[in-house]
């Protein structure tokens, strides 16, 4: 499956598909099958040759404690007492939802730093990223993180490199219980329906598919035991939409985008003013070395 561009950030003309229409893909995360083993987290780190720092325990199983520039996916654990009095341990794999209408891409002022392929995958193109962080503000799911090492934005790529050569994402491959599966969006929706039927038979009367229309649907979907209350799954947005501010910004930024280089400089100044000069520590060096290796390979 070749990756053709459908959209490009801060560019007036969408890059049309060269090879005709492409089938939309999706990753389906079935929370009712997830055992929270973190194999997906490990697979993500391994495939993308990233390493997370060895942190501390803060009283929960979530490690690291939030998404980072290295951890593009994260298991989030919620203990919920259901209406029938039974305890439920809901474990949600968090990460980029690959919205059909991506707020990050809309918010991005740097031409071509965020792209959307015709198969629906939303990808960050590092070379074009200016590290302004607007994608973070534009994301209705609070996903992108800015690297402390190179000050660029990072998030799940839906393994676009693997998908490009006909493979599924690394997390889906590593998942032992098939809680994560990957295929065409239509197939994933159909599969979700069989799971929802099973869950309803087991008493989860509000089981359902999470594919929120407020962002045009997503290319990462969940099967939820309680689709009526996505918030109980570690704060999953109930009706996510792109912040109206994004459109406002877009209006202001479009002209500036024409002077891309100037903007980059501006962003640098802005960064210096808000965060101070860059300091390189051992951790940065290690991350940089890793980055060099990745480029080389």
């Amino acid at each position: 499956m070749a990756l053709d561009l459908m959209r490009r950030s801060a560019s007036s003309t969408p890059a049309g598909s060269l090879s005709g229409p492409t089938t939309e893909v999706a990753k389906l995360i079935d929370i009712s099958k997830c055992i929270g083993c973190k194999a997906c987290q490990a697979a993500c780190l391994e495939w993308n040759d990233l390493r997370e720092e060895v942190g501390v325990n803060t009283g929960v199983y979530d490690n690291p404690h939030d998404l980072t520039e290295n951890s593009w996916t994260l298991m989030r654990y919620s203990e919920v007492v259901a209406d029938n009095g039974n305890l439920e341990w809901l474990i949600r794999k968090d990460g980029c939802m690959h919205c059909a209408d991506p707020g990050c891409l809309k918010a991005c002022p740097s031409p071509g730093a965020i792209v959307q392929y015709t198969n629906g995958i939303v990808d960050f193109v590092k070379e074009n990223c200016i590290g302004c962080g607007y994608c973070v503000k534009g994301c209705p799911f609070n996903i992108p993180r800015i690297s402390k090492a190179d000050h660029k934005a990072y998030k799940c790529t839906l393994c676009s490199d693997r998908v490009n050569v006909g493979q599924g994402p690394a997390c889906a491959k590593a998942c032992p219980t098939q809680a994560i599966t990957f295929g065409t969006k239509a197939a994933m929706i159909a599969q979700a329906q069989t799971r929802i039927t099973d869950l309803k038979e087991r008493g989860y009367k509000n089981a359902g598919l999470y594919d929120p229309p407020g962002v045009g649907g997503t290319h990462v979907m969940y099967v939820l035991q309680h689709a009526d209350r996505p918030q109980i799954f570690a704060g999953l947005a109930k009706d996510p939409t792109i912040s109206p501010l994004v459109d406002l910004w877009k209006g202001m930024l479009k002209p500036i985008a024409m002077v891309g280089i100037g903007l980059t400089a501006l962003a640098g100044v802005f960064h210096y003013m808000t965060k101070g000069p860059n300091r390189v520590d051992a951790h940065d060096e290690e991350a940089a070395a890793r980055e060099m290796r990745r480029k080389a390979s």
């Binding site: 009712s32 099958k33 997830c34 055992i35 929270g36 083993c37 973190k38 194999a39 987290q41 490990a42 780190l45 391994e46 390493r51 997370e52 720092e53 060895v54 942190g55 501390v56 325990n57 803060t58 009283g59 929960v60 199983y61 490690n63 690291p64 203990e79 007492v81 039974n86 305890l87 439920e88 341990w89 809901l90 474990i91 032992p176 219980t177 098939q178 809680a179 069989t194 799971r195 099973d198 038979e201 087991r202």
Partner: protein, 809 residues
């Protein structure tokens, strides 16, 4: 496992109790999610904690650690009271109808024959009444007051749902809901699988925990069935192989047992091992014991093993007592063992009562650690502050470290829980000076041999005569060893039906164990593995995924012992006429002339159904034992005993609180704590993010679960002023640890015998080497007491106290 991993997808009900498959066996757990998604299976989880397995359960029920037999006894009573039995199966395939001797009894927590001084039973009354014909007496109506069935009914009368709740703290409604679901599998064409692991074994009555579920499975007719069985989930990729190949201090390969001191010669040894059938016409497969034993000693000593010298019987050690790990460390502690080869083990972190273990290692003259990783055991002498607070200068033990390959760096077979021997090839070269375990053992042997040759010695024969036929004596190839283990023919054996033909030809690989001989003409390293490397080649390397009828057997993938049989006792999957109990449960059937089907029959293929040969061919009865006779040291029926440290005493019999025959060494009894000082129940366990003490050396795993924590419930946390992420101290009567607090709804407050019981969970994975934050081992706290039958330490239930502490970091 009686069954295999894949077969779990065929289950109608899955009970995870005494284990936490999602956590410790995430890859195998996929078959649970398959059964749920495609077989409408119900998942039951019973555990002291709401675990990762519980996250996917249809019904979860909490239980106080160490009270499983009370719970399971309650299930037995429920099945008996509500007549939820697979009647035909129970009557024909178990010993329910057998009559027990008149002297047998049970009163106030003790079976007949107890000797308090020796902490042991005289088990002679725990047996069947024999008829004049030399066979067991039985009453097919099962009404005889001394029939196993009636005795069992009487024994479990006390295990009411109220008693279950009182002992276990498990809410009665949840317990009954579970009984109801379990009982659905009494239908002949339904099956429940029991998935358990160290949550049942690591108790002072571990073997009986498993027995109790086995009784339930037999009453329901779930053994030998697709989707059924007693399925022990082994904790290492090859721990099944470890027991199979006899790496236990009292075993030789293939579950043959070492002789004891009272068996001075081969004839005496064989007297108690070649069981004669106890019912007419039964297989009693151990009648072949001699063939397996002689073939084993022939593979060890070849030509030196002759009929005249009892095939070198005298060269094998004779046990005075069992030398399990607890005894080994007790003897080190006493200064009676002073050298220790530690291969693939990390006892400083693994064995109970770390203080005692560290003290024992410090008394050694030398310690050899053979391991791929820098273990804490190899560094026990190094001071790591509070995490290993020793005075290095005072320790004189000389430590040798021999780095070995990891599993991915060598070739060989691994035996999984489902008894599959799967061949694997090296995926990477070994780094630096690393050597394979085989190479290290080979050099040790050759150097010892050279010393014996040079200097002689008291008893050089077993070393000097050991068969060592390898192309490169210093580097035996795994293939050479695998062939030896399978067995080979030493001398031609003519075909008894046709003198012009040969049954076996010298030099050939054995085709399987059926043709092994006790006359010295065959050699076989491990009889149950015979068939794994036949004249047709390496069966373990087979990779055919074909799975006829989607039965979950994949019969041509790798090789399963015994005889590539995928489900043990599979004769029991068919009714008395040889027809499967249900179409979805088809395994083997009688076609009028022979047994045939999807699996290799665990049965004489020509045994007509009407001949009444029982499916449990290893037992001289031919049936499965609801009543185990004298086979278990602590009783023929499982009985509830409290852990050695208990918060409540034993509500079922006040005087006999804990297992009266569990082994406790002098000095260890004294360091048991009481509920007065240590009011909370603690249990220990693994986490998915880590594998024992290995994966903490891996940066990725370390980042996923970086720091030691302890889990406690919200009520206890509130009482103690402990908040999420606080530092806390957990103490037992043997030591204390510091850890981060994980305050969770998943640790539920229970009420047992009228008393509020809080439970505390302690994962095991931290130490002072590796990439994680340094942490204490749970074995700072655990008690030194072993199961009555197999001496597994009681890691899963003991008493602690907890308090909040302030740590300046």
């Amino acid at each position: 496992m009686t069954n295999l991993w894949m077969d779990i997808k065929n289950a109608d009900v899955i009970t995870i109790m005494g284990g936490n498959a999602a956590e410790a066996h995430p890859c195998g757990f996929k078959w649970v999610t398959e059964a749920k998604a495609h077989n409408k299976a119900k998942l039951i989880v019973v555990d002291p904690r709401f675990t990762r397995s519980a996250a996917l359960a249809d019904i979860f029920c909490p239980i106080r650690a160490g009270t499983d037999i009370a719970f399971l006894g309650g299930v037995i009573k429920y099945l008996l009271d509500n007549n939820k039995l697979q009647h035909e199966y129970v009557k024909a395939f178990t010993n329910a109808s057998y009559i027990v001797k008149d002297g047998y009894g049970f009163e106030d927590g003790l079976f007949t024959g107890y000797n308090a001084e020796q902490r042991d039973y005289n088990r002679s009354s725990w047996d069947y009444e024999m008829g004049d014909d030399g066979f067991v007496k039985l009453d097919e109506s099962m009404q005889h007051p001394r029939s196993v069935f009636q005795l069992m009914k009487k024994h479990y009368e006390r295990y009411t749902p109220e008693m279950v709740e009182r002992v276990c703290g498990s809410p009665k409604d949840k317990f009954l809901q579970i009984c109801e679901v379990i009982a659905t599998t009494s239908a002949p064409d339904k099956a429940m699988t029991s998935m358990y692991a160290l949550g049942w074994t690591q108790h002072s009555k571990g073997s009986q925990n498993i027995r109790a579920m086995a009784v339930i499975q037999l009453l329901l007719g779930n053994i030998g069935m697709r989707g059924g069985g007693m399925n022990a989930l082994r904790g290492h990729s090859n721990i099944q192989g470890l027991t199979d190949i006899g790496l236990m201090s009292n075993l030789i390969p293939g579950y043959l047992t070492l002789a004891n001191e009272r068996e001075p010669n081969y004839a005496e040894y064989m007297k108690t091992r070649q069981f004669k059938p106890m019912r007419p016409g039964q297989t009693s497969f151990w009648q072949n014991y001699g063939k397996f034993f002689v073939s084993f000693t022939k593979s060890m000593w070849g030509a030196a093993a002759t009929k005249d010298n009892d095939f070198c019987y005298d060269w094998l050690p004779k046990l005075d007592v069992t030398y399990d790990v607890l005894r080994a460390f007790e003897l080190m502690h006493q200064g009676r063992i002073n050298g220790y080869f530690c291969q693939g083990f990390n006892p400083l972190m693994s064995f109970p009562n770390r203080k005692k273990i560290a003290g024992a290692l410090a008394k050694l003259k030398y310690l050899v650690v053979i391991d791929p990783l820098q273990t804490e055991t190899a560094r026990f002498w190094e001071n790591h502050g509070e995490h290993n607070d020793v005075n290095s200068a005072s320790i004189q033990t000389e430590v040798f470290e021999l780095p070995t390959t990891c599993f991915a760096e060598d070739e060989g077979s691994l035996t999984n829980s489902g008894r599959w021997l799967q061949w694997h090839w090296a995926g990477a070269d070994a780094p630096w000076e690393t050597k394979g375990d085989i190479d290290i053992m080979a050099e040790l042997h050759l150097r010892l041999k050279a010393l014996y040759q040079k200097e002689g010695g008291v008893f050089p024969d077993p070393i000097l005569n050991l068969v060592w036929p390898y192309k490169d004596p210093k580097k035996p190839h795994p293939e050479e060893i695998a062939k030896e283990v399978n067995g080979y023919v030493l001398e031609d054996v003519p075909d008894p039906n046709d003198a012009t033909k040969k049954l076996l030809t010298a030099g050939q690989q054995m085709p399987g164990f059926a043709l092994l001989r006790d006359d010295g003409k065959t050699a076989c390293g491990c009889w149950i593995y015979s068939g794994s490397w036949t004249p047709a080649g390496n069966q373990m390397a087979r990779r055919d995924t074909a799975d006829p009828e989607n039965a979950g057997l994949a019969p041509r993938w790798a090789w399963s012992w015994p005889a590539n049989r995928r489900i043990l006792y599979n004769r029991a999957s068919a009714d008395l006429n040889g027809k499967p109990w249900g179409p979805s449960k088809k395994l083997i059937e009688w076609n009028g002339t022979t047994w045939t089907g999807l699996d290799v029959p665990d049965y004489g293929p020509a045994n007509k159904p009407e001949a009444g040969v029982g499916p449990f061919i290893m037992n001289p009865e031919g049936t499965a034992r609801l009543f185990t006779r004298g086979m278990m040291r602590d009783g023929p029926f499982p009985e509830h005993y409290e852990p050695f440290e208990t918060p409540v005493g034993n509500p079922m019999h006040q005087k006999v609180v804990s297992n009266p025959v569990a082994r406790v060494f002098r000095g260890d009894m004294e360091v048991f704590g009481t509920a007065k000082d240590f009011p909370y129940v603690a249990t220990t366990y693994r986490l998915t993010e880590h594998f024992h003490f290995w994966s903490k050396h891996v940066q990725v795993n370390a980042s996923l679960q970086p720091e030691l924590f302890v889990e406690l419930g919200e009520d206890l946390a509130k009482e103690k002023g402990i908040r999420n992420g606080d530092w806390m101290k957990v103490s037992s009567n043997r030591g204390s640890i510091k850890a981060k607090a994980v305050v969770t709804k998943r640790m539920m407050t229970l009420k047992c015998d009228g008393k509020v019981v809080h439970q505390v969970g302690i994962p095991i994975h931290w130490g002072f080497t590796g990439a994680t934050k340094k942490g204490y081992g749970a074995n700072m706290l655990t008690p030194y007491v072993g199961d009555a039958n197999i001496e597994t330490p009681e890691y899963k239930a003991f008493l602690v106290d907890v308090e909040k502490i302030n740590v300046v970091s």
